[in-house]
């Protein structure tokens, strides 16, 4: 197992929080109160069924952006159920954000894993995606049948326009966070041109930007 001296830990904590600070839920970061995340044993007192139900609730009612999702998480898991401390929650959020996939789902996976290992991770994932997935399947069945209905086409025409607006808004907000100088700006522009004009493969572009990022930003203090 890995072990760290306390000074190493504080350096890490500093970097975690700095990194954290670029994110909308930065309000969660509290410098002085974080204590090291401890290796936790299997919490047998928390049943998988309860975990599933709490995450089902989160996945069903926590509409809205990442921020409202996470405050919902914290209210349920830290304040009401007391399954996690505030610090453990923050660290789970950080892990959820820095791993590939949907960050909120990943936060849930991390919390599930901390509480009941792999079974817990499965329980929280299934709970969290259950309602949305069932609804999406129902909508898909409906969609296939009525795709050419003129009323549905009219609705979808409005929806399609709003979705493009939403996408632009997401791009705008993300750019405000991570395009901070000419170098990061260049990454964005080159990626745009490579995909929009040269139709290069985006998976390859992401891998390449990670590699180039490593070369270019390796010496920066984040």
């Amino acid at each position: 197992m890995l072990s760290f001296s306390s000074s190493q830990y504080y350096v890490l904590k500093y970097h975690t929080l700095k990194w954290f600070y670029h994110y909308p839920w930065a309000e969660y970061a509290e410098y002085d109160t974080l204590s090291p995340m401890t290796e936790q044993e299997d919490r047998r007192d928390i049943s998988l069924r309860d975990m599933f139900l709490v995450f089902l609730k989160i996945g069903t009612f926590a509409l809205g952006g990442v921020y409202s999702m996470l405050s919902f998480f914290e209210k349920e898991l830290v304040e009401r159920k007391k399954w996690l401390t505030h610090d453990e929650f923050i660290e789970s959020v950080a892990i959820g954000q820095m791993t590939p996939g949907a960050p909120v789902v990943n936060t849930g996976i991390c919390i599930g894993y901390r509480l009941r290992k792999i079974k817990g991770a499965l329980a929280t994932t299934i709970g969290q995606i259950f309602t949305g997935t069932v609804l999406a399947i129902i909508l898909a069945a409906f969609y296939i049948r009525t795709k050419d209905n003129p009323l549905l086409r009219a609705v979808l025409k409005g929806v399609g326009a709003a979705v493009v607006g939403l996408l632009l808004s997401v791009i705008f907000k993300m750019a405000k966070q991570s395009v901070r100088d000419y170098r990061t700006g260049l990454f964005a522009v080159v990626a745009f041109v490579s995909l929009a004009l040269f139709r290069l493969n985006p998976i390859g572009l992401i891998i390449a930007s990670g590699l180039i990022g490593f070369v270019v930003f390796r010496r920066d203090n984040l």
Binding site: A136, A161, V163, M174, V179, A196, G213
Partner: protein, 171 residues
């Protein structure tokens, strides 16, 4: 065979994209719409809208696409291949959190990936925009949606539902 390819694409996309559900859009668009032609641009927009108005993460749209391609089994396989990478990677990360966090490789690579994802998303927005912004009405809706979502705290779900309602009346 299609199903296997479909799962492979989803697994790969979910294992590679950092930066949230939106970061996956360029990759999914490329694979589903441009390479394999499983969806038209319009269907991709509809799937994205479904992912937005349903509760839970945007990745729910994968279940919608799976169902469209191959019925219930397609939807279930889509869910499994979408979340399996996360489960594997997150549990490993939770185990070795500190070593991973400290690594310069990860932080510097992220610093390049994040702005690149923005560029990729912008390219997708252009492609989707040419499909769905066809007249003055749709243009106004898109502008209004951008403005409201960027500058207020109103949940995007309501904007999209509202736009659907306006569409039903207007078009």
């Amino acid at each position: 065979m299609i199903l296997l390819k479909f799962c492979g694409v989803l697994f790969m996309v979910n294992a590679l994209t950092i930066g949230g559900g939106f970061a996956m859009l360029p990759l999914l668009h490329k694979e589903f719409v441009e390479r394999y032609h499983w969806l038209t641009n319009q269907e991709f927009i509809d799937a994205f809208a479904v992912g937005q108005i349903t509760p839970g993460p945007l990745t729910v749209m994968n279940a919608f696409i799976g169902f469209k391609l191959h019925g219930l089994s397609g939807a279930i396989l889509a869910v499994v291949s979408s979340y399996l990478p996360g489960i594997i990677i997150v549990t490993l990360t939770a185990k070795y959190y500190y070593a991973y966090r400290e690594s310069t490789i990860v932080t510097s690579a992220f610093k390049g990936i994040k702005p690149a994802v923005i560029g990729l998303l912008a390219a997708v927005a252009v492609s989707l925009g040419t499909t769905s912004l066809v007249d003055a009405g749709t243009l106004v809706i898109a502008l209004a949606s951008f403005t409201i979502i960027t500058f207020t705290k109103i949940d995007p779900t309501f904007i999209i539902l509202g736009a659907g309602l306006i569409g039903a009346v207007l078009f």
